[in-house]
């Protein structure tokens, strides 16, 4: 990344009279008949940029990102694995991208065949019975499943107002619960980082609709009490929801349906290598147990003989959460991935994701605090608590300094149950050499001067943006100079 590269904004590059895209002459005789009262008079004041300036601007800007294709990116909980190039090529096939969402079922049988197969593949991997591909991201999957649960209880004539959520959960869990109209109630973690069964029992009664669990959890631990937990919930007539953010650890090893989950979402951009797109698009399909299938959003893809069709005739459905089918382009990539891997490939993913994480943990053990043991699933959480106390070095300092070594920082300050958390997820697509080099960097950083670390990164074009200023005096768009605030 070039420190001296221009960071001019598009608007500052604007030069009246320039443009990149030119339209053909109008070839029809009709005039523009819109009434003058509806017209703006002049078009929006967009920037005017010529083609080469536009291309240089965006290509140069792209080099100011770290990405999977340029850097090791061990961002915990995000599963930043390699995004195969074949997916980009195949998913861009015009026979897939140029389909209108409302064209007739007969005219998109190939697409429907893929989506139908994807529903079935995700049901099989989950060990559950029905799948909706509609949710656009994991958080929307959570909301959708909770709406399904609400409809299920309404249908049964039961009033249940609460959703229990471990304190180590992703923030989306309680946010989704509130949005679905439930009261979110936090359940403590025990000293091992697992669900505190006593606290769960104390909070579990007939008001509870759903228990949302992430397993393996955000500490990278498989909660081996899961069978007891799901039994406790089911005894009270409640449902168990699995946050599938960490499915990369268990593909083909164990299935949420087999360990008692009734509903779950996938993050296709994580587990099935999306890619992440700089913050999306994702896809957050949900899988549910038999008694919940009739409440799934409509439409589902169905098959009659050799013909596929969108089934809207679902009278108990919650409705829909997306204007159209869902994030099809990402689902397509996920399908390509599963079809490339097959069943043994999927299992290898989890075996090597867990091996890589444990190997990295073994290299860092004794050098960094890892409060929850020396074994993990696909990720682990180290803590800079002792460093902070003894030398005033924070998790943020370590994350920022890693950038100088060409590594994206781990997830920092999450989960909330670990102070000064550094959440590290290497994924299965990294080599032992990469893991060794990353461990060496972390070991070296530990012994660096505290002040030097406070000022990191040193090698990047900028360092430590003033986030307080950004929030106190929000400047959320560019304004021309004469347009005073």
């Amino acid at each position: 990344m070039d420190k001296n590269q221009s960071t001019e904004l598009l608007f500052e590059l604007s030069h009246p009279g320039r443009r990149t895209h030119r339209l053909p002459e109008c070839d029809v005789p009709a005039e523009n008949p819109l009434p003058a009262s509806a017209l703006a008079g002049y078009p929006p004041p967009l920037p005017e940029v010529g083609e080469i300036d536009l291309v240089r601007h965006f290509v140069n800007l792209s080099t100011r990102n770290m990405s999977i294709d340029t850097n090791f990116y061990p961002l915990g909980s995000c599963t930043m694995k390699y995004n195969p190039k074949r997916h980009e090529r195949l998913a861009s096939h015009p026979g897939m991208t140029d389909l209108h969402p409302l064209q007739s079922d007969e005219s998109c049988q190939g697409m429907l065949a893929i989506l139908w197969e994807m529903q079935n593949l995700l049901a099989e991997i989950a060990g559950l019975d029905g799948v909706s591909l509609q949710p656009a991201a994991g958080a929307q999957g959570e909301l959708t499943a909770l709406l399904v649960a609400a409809s299920y209880y309404r249908d049964k004539g039961e009033k249940r107002s609460r959703v229990l959520i471990p304190d180590s959960a992703h923030g989306t869990n309680p946010a989704s619960a509130a949005l679905a109209g439930f009261d979110a109630v936090s359940v403590k973690s025990d000293s091992r980082g697992l669900v505190d069964l006593d606290d769960l029992r104390a909070k579990l009664d007939e008001r509870v609709a759903v228990f949302m669990i992430t397993n393996p959890n955000t500490l990278g631990l498989f909660d081996d009490q899961i069978a007891t937990i799901t039994e406790l919930l089911h005894q009270k007539g409640a449902l168990v929801y699995l946050d599938g953010a960490n499915m990369n650890a268990i593909l083909g090893v164990t299935r949420p349906g087999d360990f008692g989950a009734d509903m779950m979402h996938y993050n296709v951009h994580k587990t099935f290598t999306g890619p992440h797109g700089g913050g999306g698009p994702g896809a957050g399909p949900i899988a549910v147990r038999k008694q919940l299938v009739s409440f799934l959003p409509a439409p589902l893809v169905a098959r009659a003989g050799e013909r596929y069709y969108l089934d809207y005739d679902r009278p108990k459905s919650i409705g829909r959460v997306h204007g159209f089918f869902g994030n099809v382009g990402i689902l397509l990539r996920g399908w390509l991935y599963i079809r490339t891997l097959g069943s043994s490939g999927l299992r290898q993913v989890s075996e090597n994701a867990v091996l890589n994480a444990n190997y990295l943990l073994s290299r860092l053990k004794g050098i960094y605090d890892v409060p929850h043991g020396d074994r993990c699933m696909h990720e682990f959480v180290a803590s800079a608590r002792a460093l902070r106390r003894e030398r005033k070095i924070s998790a943020m300092d370590i994350g920022k300094r890693l950038l100088d070594f060409g590594y994206h920082a781990p997830t920092v300050y999450f989960p909330l149950v670990v102070p000064e958390a550094l959440m590290i997820e290497p994924t299965e697509t990294e080599s032992k050499e990469t893991l060794d080099a990353f461990a060496d960097a972390l070991i070296r950083i530990r012994d660096e001067d505290a002040d030097f670390l406070h000022d990191a990164p040193h090698e990047l074009p900028l360092s430590r943006p003033d986030e307080v200023k950004a929030a106190k005096e929000p400047m959320l768009r560019w304004k021309p100079r004469h347009d005073s605030v």
């Binding site: 109008c26 029809v28 819109l34 390699y82 049988q109 700089g278 074994r375 929030a471």
Partner: protein, 477 residues
């Protein structure tokens, strides 16, 4: 094939370092009775060559816009995408990064999203825009939830029936368990009459939701609707077509408080409905009630201008159940495409695109209504989409037109029982006079064929099955 680099030797060395003897042992925390003791039932792995052939074969069973001329609209449109859009979005530094949490390592994405927010403000004439939502339907739901957090004591939502029916369904689904009452206001003349709104609105009204141009393609009277809404102290939420703003007044000019849109038309393919791009802009005073990510400008240690994610205390990872929304992953790559698209068009390009859409749509409407028995359903000005009434406007008729090479339109009876004999059609800047004339001829020919009871399909078609039978079959499963 799993893109794993570890060789058996690597694995042995790594297992030894971990202190276990096998890969299986790594999973010892998973109780044995919960493990899957068989391979997943997944089709056999395919090589890249096989996968490519398989995908091409499946794509061959689709009829994309390049194969049959597309006049379909209803929220997804066959607009042209300049090559620069795909060239930039194909940079893997963008598409293989994630949410820009680490500002120093993400200035590329952050600056793009700041530019995106600015462009959406310029487009809408509103003070602030977020860094994207999922798509147009859930964006309407997010806007209503945002209104609720602005006026938590009001609970009545008035919705124009001319708002996209699937967006209305999405909204109803989102708020099903919240204390909100949704009322749909009929639009028998193709638009929400401000006098009808005046009669329905009261002091309990939280917000009014309309679409302009609406689902029928017609223009609403947004200024009058905004005025009536504001007189009742409620918020005016509008769903707009970004391309239309090359010509039409901007939401900020006619008094919208929150403006949302489907941004697919800005450089994204139709892609069978997603990934699309939800836009949300609003008046500046409501910034802290907004859902979704926001990028703000600041300076670094050396005083250099740079960009960061900001106002994160609204968001789920900080506020948990008290967050303004549950959204986390959004549609960043689509926002990048929209940014490049709008920059490539500029003000003049957007205006010309909108003009071409409007003129071609009017030409198509004029030609089609020359056919006997075909007329415009609504006597309202329209932009790029219009509603035709014709007695034979039924699904089988549209299937016939598809056989003649045209995705001709949407059957509105599907959503509106009163519009059984109506079609909506959309015409973008991509459509040529030849294509429009071809559609008119095919329309006429198909009617003649249908009137004579003779269907002459151009292509061999798969046998049509009775829909009711399918439904029975699914229920039986």
């Amino acid at each position: 094939m799993s893109y794993v680099l570890n060789t058996p030797e690597d694995q042995r060395a790594m297992l030894a370092a971990v202190g276990v003897s096998s890969l299986e042992e790594l999973f010892s925390k998973i109780p044995p009775q919960l493990r899957l003791n068989r391979p997943l039932q997944v089709p056999e792995a395919l090589s890249e060559i096989e996968l490519t052939a398989h995908l091409s074969q499946l794509a061959g069973r689709n009829r994309p816009a390049g194969d049959a001329v597309c006049f379909l609209g209803g929220g997804a449109y066959d607009h042209f995408i300049p090559a620069v859009v795909d060239a930039v979005a194909g940079r893997s530094e963008y598409y293989t990064a994630y949410t820009p949490y680490q500002a120093e390592a993400s200035q590329g994405s952050l600056q793009v999203f700041f530019e995106f927010q600015t462009l959406i403000c310029q487009l809408t004439g509103l003070g602030v825009a977020n860094a994207s939502l999922y798509e147009g339907g859930s964006a309407v739901a997010e806007a209503v939830l945002m209104a609720l957090s602005i006026h938590p004591k009001r609970h009545k939502v008035l919705i124009a029936e001319s708002l996209h029916p699937e967006y209305r369904r999405t909204l109803a689904t989102y708020v099903a368990n919240l204390d909100l009452h949704l009322h749909t206001l009929p639009t028998p003349n193709g638009f929400l009459d401000p006098d009808d709104l005046k009669r329905a609105i009261d002091a309990q009204t939280l917000c009014v939701v309309a679409q302009h141009p609406n689902f029928f393609g017609c223009l609403e009277e947004p200024e009058a609707l905004a005025n009536v809404t504001h007189e009742a102290g409620a918020l005016f939420i509008v769903s707009f077509d970004p391309i239309s703003l090359g010509l039409l007044k901007r939401p900020g000019q006619y008094g919208a408080d929150i403006a949302v849109a489907e941004g697919q038309c800005l450089g994204n393919p139709m892609s069978y409905g997603g990934p699309f791009l939800g836009l949300l802009a609003c008046r500046e005073e409501y910034v802290r009630k907004m859902p979704g990510r926001l990028v703000g400008q600041t300076v670094d240690r050396q005083g250099k201008r740079c960009w960061v994610l900001t106002l994160q205390t609204r968001e789920q990872h900080i506020r948990r159940e008290k967050a303004t929304s549950n959204i986390c992953t959004n549609q960043g790559l689509m926002a990048l495409k929209a940014t490049v698209y709008l920059a490539a068009l500029g003000p003049q390009g957007l205006k010309e695109t909108a003009e071409l859409c409007a003129r071609k749509a009017h030409y198509a409407a004029e030609r089609l209504t020359e056919l006997p028995g075909v007329r415009l359903r609504f006597d309202r000005p329209f932009f790029k989409e219009f509603t035709l009434q014709a007695e034979d406007a039924v699904p089988a008729f549209l299937t016939g037109l598809l056989d003649r090479g045209y995705h001709a339109g949407l059957h509105l009876g599907r959503w509106y029982p009163g519009l059984e004999a109506c079609l909506s059609m959309a015409v973008t800047e991509k459509r040529t006079r030849t294509e429009i004339d071809g559609l008119v001829s095919a329309f006429a020919a198909q009617r003649d064929g249908a009137c004579n009871g003779v269907m002459r399909p151009i292509k061999e078609r798969e046998p049509q099955m009775n829909t009711d039978e399918h439904r029975e079959e699914t229920k039986a499963k």
